[in-house]
């Protein structure tokens, strides 16, 4: 299809051709022609956020819960700079986003014009790719290319910066047919000998482990399905990063829980003690490995990743396999079956006996109380009262995020949205809004901290305007709990600026926004209050008053190895546990 239209119309047409149904945005002078084009149509719904950072996080929540590309539209200058945190977040977590930014007219670029900023310059390091379109006849191709680049290979955010005169100009629109990128062709399939080597290595293992990550989720639900089958067939224990939760069902006996800094004892000990590690769509991030020179010593490592630059970046692996998780796992499964392989039964049984001993440590145990709500208990109850529902969970960043990861149990992929790589406070509410837009009838809950939620609190207004009945479940410990925990452990309990002073009354705040507020501070009232929250078909802020002193365990102190993790009941002289070198790390 090729047709004459204005640049602004091309943006809308390209969205339509790409199957876009919802976009998250905020208007301004440099995108008015596009907003005008939006006004003249009704197949694309625009969700008006209250801050451009939230537009990107909403698009991330939408993308992560639906597998589609998230689309953002913001104005030049402050609109673009406000979006930068969201773009960086999407880059770190490999989330497909197309972000359209308005730009001043081409003849004004470089003149410090009103609301001008060097958007492509600023966003170059925080996008997968970006474009400044100076000619309307390039626009359609660039837009289609942006969608291609955002979702192919390792996904990521793409910015298309469009000067206002280009939006007004008329040019030729080309359809999405056959538009890829000239040269960008990620490698999706592994070679047969590598697959053969991988299954042979796995079959020869005595203490194998699958270490899975966000790549399995990004690859699509089929990857999770094949992972499950491969795990069942091989009998290998499975752990996952924060990003990968849900790819493997938490109810499965082979599930060890999350690994890493706040992962389970059994997952980390099994990582430390394994002899063959299959890393699937994860990247040996520092939250996962702990002290690098003591990471899984004596293990052979297979690393499956679509991004060659993830290979041998932090950890040297024995068998790198570049490819898409779905295809590589499918090939491995087929090769395993074709060769009728199996892992030595006696060895595997011994390995599971060892793992069960570690499990017996019951590392997530906490001291229950009748007087005060323990944050872990709150998540456990939230999980138990919602597990039979169609539920999507997002989080903010802090202790509550880690407790959510530890105590909420995910059976399916795409149900869990959290800012992993960047650790962005303020992520959870807009992400829940995005997920709710993609799944209007689902129960979308942002598990929040009282400090984080204030970073994008204004999005309550968006939720109310668009009838998005998200639930904000605040674990209110009146502290930036994760900061307080580190200060306790590393800085002599000097709680410098980590107390949440002058908090708003969240119940009244909910009311002020036109939502519903609920407060609960007694363990005995908790179930009823959660039930009440679930029953309300409007946005709710649930102010759950929890123990202020609780720390998040287990914990691998910075600079320590997996087998040096600290459990809740031995958290005594933590200051001692962390070396000076460890204190340098975050």
């Amino acid at each position: 299809m090729s047709k004459q239209m204005t640049g602004a119309e091309m943006v809308i047409q390209a969205f339509a051709d790409q199957g876009v149904e919802h976009i998250f945005g905020y208007p301004g002078g440099a995108v008015l022609p596009i907003y005008d084009a939006l006004f003249h149509q009704n197949h694309i719904e625009h969700i008006l956020v209250r801050h451009e950072q939230a537009a990107v996080h909403s698009a991330e929540g939408y993308a992560r819960s639906s597998g589609k590309v998230g689309v953002v539209l913001v104005t030049s200058g402050p609109g673009a700079t406000n979006a930068v945190t969201g773009l960086t977040d999407a880059l770190m977590d490999s989330i497909p986003i197309v972000c359209i930014t308005g730009q001043v007219a081409t003849h004004l670029i470089g003149n410090d014009a009103f609301q001008e900023c060097d958007t492509v310059g600023i966003t170059r390091p925080c996008t997968k790719h970006n474009y400044l379109v100076r000619d309307v006849n390039d626009l359609a191709r660039v837009l289609h290319e942006a969608f291609y680049v955002a979702q192919n290979g390792r996904p990521g955010p793409v910015v298309v910066d469009i000067p206002k005169d280009v939006q007004f100009a008329t040019g030729t629109y080309v359809g999405r047919e056959n538009i890829q990128h000239k040269t960008y062709r990620p490698k999706l399939d592994a070679e047969a000998p590598q697959i053969a080597a991988a299954v042979e290595m796995l079959a020869g293992a005595k203490r194998p482990i699958f270490y899975t990550g966000g790549g399995v989720i990004n690859s699509g639900p089929e990857a999770s399905r094949i992972l499950r089958e491969l795990a069942r067939l091989t009998g290998v224990p499975v752990t996952s990063t924060l990003m990968g939760l849900g790819a493997f069902p938490a109810a499965n006996r082979q599930w060890l829980g999350m690994l890493g800094m706040h992962g389970t004892y059994e997952a980390n000990m099994a990582m430390h003690g394994c002899d063959v590690m299959v890393c699937i769509g994860a990247r040996f991030d520092d939250r996962i490995t702990g002290r690098l020179d003591a990471f899984a010593p004596g293990s052979k490592k297979i690393h499956i990743d679509i991004d060659p630059s993830s290979i041998n970046k932090n950890v040297k692996v024995d068998l790198p396999i570049i490819g898409d998780c779905t295809r590589v796992l499918a090939d491995m499964l087929a090769a395993w079956k074709a060769r009728d392989l199996s892992i030595d039964k006696a060895a595997l049984d011994a390995w599971w006996t060892q793992i069960d001993r570690w499990r017996g440590r019951n590392c997530l145990a906490y001291r229950q109380s009748d007087e005060i709500i323990k944050p872990q208990y709150a998540i456990e109850r939230l999980y138990n009262l919602t597990k039979d529902k169609d539920v999507y969970i997002s989080t903010e960043v802090g202790q509550h995020q880690m407790w959510a990861a530890q105590f909420f149990r995910f059976e399916e992929p795409n149900r869990w949205m959290t800012s992993g790589g960047l650790g962005t406070m303020g992520y959870g509410l807009p992400a829940a809004i995005g997920a709710q837009k993609a799944h209007p009838d689902a129960l979308c809950i942002d598990i929040a901290g009282e400090a984080s939620i204030l970073m994008n609190m204004q999005e309550m207004s968006t939720a109310v305007q668009f009838d998005l009945p998200v639930k904000i479940f605040i674990l209110n410990n009146k502290y930036m709990g994760m900061v307080r925990q580190w200060q306790e452990l590393l800085h002599g309990a000097r709680y410098s600026h980590s107390y949440s002073e002058a908090l708003p009354d969240f119940v009244k705040l909910a009311d002020a926004y036109g939502g519903v507020g609920i407060r609960c501070d007694k363990p005995s009232d908790l179930d009823a209050a959660i039930e009440e929250m679930i029953a309300i078909k409007r946005p709710v802020i649930f102010d759950c008053i929890v123990d202020q002193q609780e720390n998040c365990f287990p914990m691998i102190p910075s600079g320590r190895a997996h087998n040096e993790m600290i459990l809740g009941d031995m958290a005594v002289d933590l200051d001692e546990a962390i070396t000076d070198e460890g204190k340098m790390l975050v």
Binding site: V120, G121, R124, P125, K128, H129, L132, V149, H181, K182, T183, Y184, L292, D307, P308, S309, I311, N312, K313, N314, K316
Partner: protein
């Protein structure tokens, strides 16, 4: 963190990229953002119709870092191909320099004699100065400049390294 006990190596990389605005900024931003070294960098269009530019980068790092650099470069959307010419052995490397020397009498004669020995050409002369043009490997140019120092070296302009593999194949 890459093992710090690994030896530091010096590699010459050839990178074929789309000649589009911002592509050099992407490459340089990658190096500065990730803390990689750039010892030398040259860039120029090599195919007008194909809109292709060739960037030659000389960098140093441990083998693990060098591998990272190549993979990170390859990941940039407008990058077509990355070739490590150091790995391929015996690749050709050349640099061009212009060297300005000021002097009279004895020193002037000596400068001319050395230039001849290095096959440097005189491309500008006044009564009290020469500009020499010299091509060769970087260390040859280093040495020429070093020899000129006592003879009245004023300034040096260098292109940085360009490199190409031997034999009939393209990169």
């Amino acid at each position: 963190m890459p093992n710090s006990s690994e030896p530091i190596e010096r590699h010459t990389l050839s990178v074929l990229v789309d000649n589009e605005p911002g592509v050099l900024a992407r490459v340089i931003g990658l190096f500065s953002g990730r803390g990689y070294n750039i010892d030398s960098l040259t860039v120029s269009e090599v195919s007008h119709e194909g809109h292709l530019s060739r960037i030659t980068i000389v960098t140093t790092g441990t083998p693990m870092v060098i591998e990272q650099i190549k993979n990170q470069l390859d990941r940039l959307v407008p990058v077509h191909r990355v070739r490590d010419l150091t790995v391929e052995a015996s690749a050709l490397e050349r640099e061009l320099a212009m060297v300005k020397v000021r002097g009279v009498g004895e020193a002037r004669g000596e400068a001319l004699r050395l230039a001849e020995a290095f096959r440097a050409r005189v491309i500008d002369a006044t009564r009290e100065s020469f500009v020499f043009e010299i091509t060769g490997k970087s260390d040859k140019i280093d040495q020429f400049a070093w020899l000129m120092e006592p003879l009245g070296l004023v300034e040096v302009a260098r292109t940085g390294v360009v490199a190409i593999s031997r034999g009939p194949e393209a990169m």
